[in-house]
Every structure is written in structure tokens, then in C-alpha cells.
């Protein structure tokens, strides 16, 4: 797999899609390379799901072009399907079928020969640690287990490309971590993964990311580089009263809205030294307590918040 690392598995150029009056995708561009884990990052309604559905041929684009494994999803969807695993955002397996029955069904639908079917099912049950639950109805599984089952069904035909739509949304933190460990295993096996997530901490786990907002690409690249390309600097305020602090610091030294990160408040500023002084002064004046004020490394979230606060230029 290492030899063709630079092979482009998915390419999207100027892709557009509207639902009636609503423009879900305005101008989407990205490239996914073989063997990498590619993250599509953006809030709800930014067009992530629409893009994935276009790639798998479930929707027809209004304009632009897409290529998946060298095929056109509009006219050659059938060719794409056998090599791609797609996991929709909503848990969509049969709740009245057991774990094993769901796996069997998808194995049969993907025309996997009987002998291989049993071997694959067993391997996936082990891999997803669902073995002890194989006779439980899917509807009775916990959220995390449901997602692992959905992933297992998606993997039943050993696809080259895995497309996952917010696989960890609504899943507890322990299961989330476990899920990403499984994705690590897949990467080692050379499976290319295109994953969407609204969580910035998950974005950092990807090889490359694209930040999308309102159907457009805001930035893309290696997560650290995207974060480092942040045009401003970050002042962090550690405080026991983050909400009041954020309100009090709104607009200080041209920072725009202050962002809340747990017990921290982030300010995006241009001149750090001036701002450290002004911030301290304002907090003392407002009689708000704080434990520290210092410059911090911009995170992906800072970048993202900054990008979506930019006035949109042409629409």
C-alpha cells in the first residue's frame, strides 16, 4: 500500500448541490489520497452529509465534478459501491435483527461467498468486540455498540475506501475513543478513511482535514498546519467564571467575541503584549477573578471560530 500513497482516491472539484432554494454545497473542492485518514470538519448544516451522499451516488450534483476510485458517482455508482463502505450518520441497521443477522444480511447482500462469510463475520465480531452480543437485537444495543455494529457492517466487504458520516456523534467518550482505535487498526490495514465530525479533538486525529462551513471550504491541510495558519495570536484567560469573563472581555483590543473553552476564555488578537495588559486591566476593573493570563497556541477550534466569523465576501 505504501507504494501508491500519492494515488488520489477521491477528488472533488467545484461541486454544487441545492435543495430547492437552499444551497447545501456552494463550491466544494478536496482530494483524498490513498491510505490516509481524511477529516471533513464543520458544524451541523455545513454540507458534510450532502458531500458524502454525492460521493456515493445517493444524490446528483447541481454542478462540478467528483471522482471516487476513478469513477463518476453519477453514472458509475454501481462500480463505486463494491469498493466503498458508507456509514450514514443515523444508526441505520435493522433494530429487529440480531447483531449476527445484520452482519449476515450485509454479507449476503454484498455477495460474499458462504465460506468466507463466516470467517469475515467472526473476524468483525472479534474486531468490534461485539462477539458476546451477537445474538442481541441491534435495537437493544447501546449507542457506542450500535456504531461499532454499523461500522462492522460497512466493513463486511473489505472496502478500499471507508466513508463515515459523523460516526461518533452522540456516542459516549469511552466508546468514541474505542471507535477511533478501531479506525487506527483500519489505517494500518491500508484502508482509506473519509470521516466527518463536528468535534475538533477528532479532527486532530486525522492525517489531513478540510474545514467546511456553509457549503464551502474554509481551509485544508495537515491539522497542525491548519491551526498554525491562524492569522492572529491567542490570549488565554484561565478563570473560575468563564461565562462572565467572556462577556466582560467581548471586543477587548479588537478581538471580536471571546470564545469559551471549558475553564478558559480565548481571545484572538494581533498584538499580544498590548492585549495581555488590557485584558488584565479590564478584568480587575470588572472585579472578575482569574488564575492566569498568557499567550497560547492556536487550536483548530480557534481557527474554525475565526474563519466562520469572517464576513462572507460574495454572498
Amino acid at each position: 500500500m505504501k507504494s501508491n500513497d500519492q494515488e488520489i482516491i477521491v477528488s472533488v472539484a467545484g461541486l454544487q448541490k441545492s435543495y430547492g432554494e437552499v444551497e447545501a454545497l456552494k463550491d466544494m473542492n478536496l482530494e483524498v489520497r490513498a491510505g490516509e485518514r481524511f477529516g471533513l470538519i464543520g458544524p451541523d448544516g455545513s454540507g458534510k452529509t450532502t458531500l458524502l451522499r454525492l460521493l456515493i451516488g445517493l444524490l446528483v450534483p447541481g454542478g462540478g465534478e467528483a471522482r471516487v476510485l476513478g469513477f463518476d458517482p453519477v453514472t458509475q455508482a454501481e462500480k463505486i459501491k463494491s469498493d466503498v463502505g458508507y456509514m450514514p450518520q443515523r444508526f441505520s441497521l435493522y433494530p429487529d435483527l440480531t447483531v449476527a443477522e445484520n452482519l449476515q444480511f450485509f454479507a449476503q447482500v454484498y455477495r460474499i461467498p458462504k465460506a468466507e462469510r463466516l470467517r469475515l463475520t467472526e473476524r468483525l465480531l472479534k474486531f468490534s468486540r461485539l462477539g458476546p452480543f451477537q445474538d442481541r437485537r441491534a435495537g437493544a444495543l447501546s449507542g457506542g455498540m450500535k456504531q461499532k455494529l454499523a461500522l462492522s457492517c460497512t466493513l463486511i466487504h473489505t472496502p478500499r475506501l471507508l466513508i463515515l458520516d459523523e460516526p461518533t456523534t452522540g456516542v459516549d467518550p469511552v466508546s468514541r475513543e474505542e471507535f477511533w482505535n478501531i479506525l487506527d487498526d483500519l489505517r494500518r490495514q491500508g484502508v482509506t478513511v473519509l470521516v466527518t465530525t463536528p468535534y475538533m479533538d477528532e479532527a486532530a486525529l486525522c492525517d489531513r482535514i478540510t474545514l467546511v462551513y456553509q457549503g464551502k471550504v474554509l481551509a485544508s491541510g495537515i491539522p497542525d498546519e491548519v491551526a498554525a495558519s491562524f492569522p492572529r495570536r491567542i490570549v488565554q484567560v484561565f478563570t473560575p467564571q468563564p461565562q462572565e469573563t467572556a462577556r466582560a472581555l467581548a471586543g477587548v483590543c479588537g478581538s471580536g467575541a471571546a470564545q469559551l473553552f471549558g475553564d478558559r476564555v480565548h481571545l484572538a488578537v494581533t498584538d499580544v503584549d498590548v492585549c495581555l495588559r488590557e485584558t488584565r486591566a479590564r478584568l480587575i476593573a470588572a472585579q472578575l477573578p482569574f488564575t492566569a493570563i498568557r499567550e497560547g497556541k492556536p487550536s483548530l477550534e480557534d481557527m474554525f471560530v475565526h474563519l466562520i466569523q469572517q464576513p462572507t465576501t460574495n454572498d
Binding site: 451522499r53 456515493i56 451516488g57 445517493l58 444524490l59 446528483v60 455508482a77 454501481e78 459501491k81 463494491s82 466503498v84 458508507y86 450514514p88 443515523r90 444508526f91 441505520s92 441497521l93 435493522y94 433494530p95 429487529d96 435483527l97 443477522e101 449476515q104 444480511f105 450485509f106 449476503q108 447482500v109 454484498y110 455477495r111 457492517c153
Partner: protein
């Protein structure tokens, strides 16, 4: 072209049915309940009609006439009236459904060979029953007057004879009709709901990205219902034949063949409805309004098409159950063959083909 991969989808559908109490209820309990309800509760037979008698003649001749009524099995004498003013209160209370009025000069005019009116009054508030009572009473009276006029001259007896259903048993009419209604219900309702469910729960998205072709999905999903609907039809036929004693005069093969054409139309309707409905609830509603009601009300199942207003008669032309009813009643009760039933068969087939074409065309491989 890969060879069709139907087995997993069919097998999965059977698992769904087995584990869903609602569909089991519709498939197993509903046919039996409807059979009982329609055959016993909505009984349109006239038996033991409560009769009031206003015998002004009070002669052996008038008692003779009355015996014809009470001895026929159709009427039970419940009241003896003295004047005409008694009629209305009895009708109002519902204690009699018909009143026989024998005039004072009844015996006298028989003797003199002159004509005299014998009157039958019928409670028409239930028009269906009323019409049947009137019909029965008229037959009895006609027979009586024929007997009288023929007495001593030509000893023949006139008997009104209603073909196919001489005892006017409504079960003969209802049970074949029930097959039409139930097949429509199971096929159209359940298939539309099962496809809508895949849409609603999002599993359709998962299947559409798998290498499953639309026809595999549709055929795989409807096959179990074809099997179950056929079994239900057979069940009703058997119960009808051996419990209700309904004749089976025509060819069973012909019944099977036409049933398949009819099933095709019902399934196409089901698939069509599933393409219109976003979720199970809506599918069920459309199926009820669009297939169940017409199959019961506009097919001639209970209400004769000939007594509907003209525009409604035109509407019945697109109700598949209408044709199938004519076919199955024709085969069972009259022993009709293909030579008689081909126009209905042609209409039904045409309708099925159109519905199938529309539903397959509307069934999308994509999400929008």
C-alpha cells in the same frame, strides 16, 4: 449482469414479519376476524322478519294466506293489529319490520272471483333490508294469488327463482369479496409500510449503497407478502367452501391465475404508495384511503356498482378489486371460464401493468 440476489432480502423480510406483532396481526388475525364479521355480523339475509298482521277479513282464507308467510321461515308473526293506526307505533318501536294487511272483503272477493288489494307495508328505514323483505313478501303473495287463480283450472305452480344464490345468502357474496379485500390489504398496505419503514429508519440509505438493484429490493421485499396473501386467500376459500358451504363451480387454476394478476396490481399500488410516503404512518394512511376504502366501497363488495351515481361508476373503473370481484364471483358462483371473464381479466392486467410501470419508474435508486 450478476445473477439476482433475492434470497437475503426475502429472508430478512420474513424475519421482520415474524418479529413484528402488528404485521402478524394483520396477516393472521385480520382475515379470520373479517371473515367472521362480514359473514355473520353484516348479515343481509332475511330470516325471521318480525311481522305484524292486520287481518280485517278473519276468515279461513285469510288465515291460509297468513300461514304462507309464517310457514315460509322468512316471517315471524309478532303482533296482531286491530286498526291501521296501530301500524306506525309498531314501526317506530321497531317491534315489527313489515305489516301484512288483509282487507275485510278478502274471502268474499275470492269467492266472487273479483280482485282485491292485499297490502304489505315495509319499514324502509333500512333500505337494503327493506328491499329484500319487500321482494320476499311479493314472492309469497304472487305465489298465493297464482295458486288461487289457478285453482280448479291448471294445476301448476309458479316459483320465482333467483339464480346463483337462491336462498339469497349474503355469505356467498361476501366471502369471495373478502378475498379481494384482504389480498389488497395485505399486499398494498403491508408492502407500502415495509418499504416506507426502510425509508423512515434510514436503512434504505444503507441498502441503496450496497450492490442491490432496485428490482431485487422490490421483488425481495414483496415476495413474502405474495406468499402470505396467497395463503390467506386459500384459507378464506377453504373456510368459505367447508364452513359456509360456498360453491366452487369454476376452475381452481383460473382462480389462482387471476389472483396472481390481481396481486400484481395490489403490490404495484403498495410500491407506488411507498414512493409517495415519507414514513410508515403516512404510508398506512394513503394505503387505507387509496386501496382499502375503494376495495370495500367502490368494488361492488357490499354496495352494487349499478346503484351508484354515474360519476362514481366511472371512478370504479380504476379500482382493481372491482374486476377481481367480478372474476372471482363469476368463477366460484357461476362457474364462468376464461371465455366469459376475459374482458375483466384484460382490464385487470392492463391496470396492473400501468401501476407496475409507474411504481417502478417512481422508485428511485437515489435519496431525493
Amino acid at each position: 449482469m450478476l445473477k439476482p440476489n433475492l434470497i437475503p432480502i426475502i429472508r430478512k423480510e420474513f424475519i421482520h414479519i415474524r418479529r413484528d406483532p402488528r404485521s402478524l396481526l394483520i396477516i393472521i388475525i385480520m382475515p379470520l376476524m373479517q371473515l367472521i364479521l362480514y359473514s355473520y355480523a353484516i348479515n343481509m339475509d332475511v330470516r325471521d322478519v318480525k311481522l305484524g298482521v292486520l287481518d280485517e277479513s278473519r276468515t279461513p282464507a285469510s288465515r291460509d294466506l297468513l300461514r304462507r308467510f309464517t310457514g315460509s321461515g322468512y316471517f315471524l308473526q309478532r303482533a296482531a293489529l286491530d286498526t291501521r293506526d296501530d301500524v306506525e307505533p309498531l314501526f317506530r318501536q321497531g317491534s315489527v319490520k313489515a305489516v301484512l294487511v288483509i282487507p275485510r272483503d278478502y274471502a268474499e272477493s275470492i269467492r266472487r272471483r273479483t280482485s282485491t288489494p292485499v297490502q304489505i307495508l315495509v319499514d324502509g328505514s333500512d333500505s337494503n333490508t327493506g328491499a329484500i323483505i319487500l321482494n320476499t313478501a311479493q314472492q309469497l303473495l304472487t305465489a298465493a294469488s297464482m295458486d288461487l287463480s289457478a285453482a280448479g283450472y291448471v294445476p301448476f305452480q309458479i316459483r320465482a327463482n333467483i339464480w346463483y344464490n337462491p336462498e339469497q345468502k349474503s355469505t356467498f357474496f361476501i366471502v369471495p369479496g373478502l378475498i379481494a379485500v384482504l389480498m389488497m390489504m395485505i399486499c398494498a398496505l403491508l408492502t407500502s409500510v415495509t418499504i416506507a419503514r426502510e425509508k423512515e429508519t434510514g436503512t434504505l440509505e444503507e441498502i441503496l449503497v450496497a450492490p442491490v438493484r432496485p428490482f431485487e429490493l422490490i421483488i425481495g421485499k414483496v415476495t413474502p407478502y405474495v406468499v402470505l396473501a396467497s395463503m390467506d386467500a386459500l384459507l378464506i376459500l377453504l373456510v368459505g367452501r367447508f364452513w359456509f358451504g360456498i360453491p366452487f363451480r369454476g376452475s381452481p387454476l383460473l382462480v389462482a391465475g387471476f389472483s396472481l394478476i390481481y396481486l400484481l396490481s395490489a403490490l404495484s399500488l403498495g410500491v407506488l404508495i411507498s414512493t409517495l410516503a415519507r414514513n410508515q404512518q403516512i404510508a398506512m394512511m394513503i394505503a387505507n384511503l387509496g386501496t382499502m376504502l375503494p376495495s370495500i366501497l367502490l368494488s361492488g363488495f357490499i354496495f352494487p356498482i349499478s346503484s351508484m351515481p354515474k360519476w362514481l361508476q366511472v371512478v370504479t373503473l380504476i379500482v382493481p378489486a372491482r374486476y377481481f370481484l367480478e372474476i372471482i364471483r363469476g368463477i366460484l358462483l357461476k362457474g364462468n371460464g376464461f371465455d366469459v371473464l376475459w374482458p375483466q381479466a384484460a382490464f385487470l392486467l392492463g391496470l396492473s401493468v400501468v401501476l407496475l410501470a409507474v411504481s417502478v419508474k417512481r422508485f428511485k435508486v437515489r435519496l431525493e
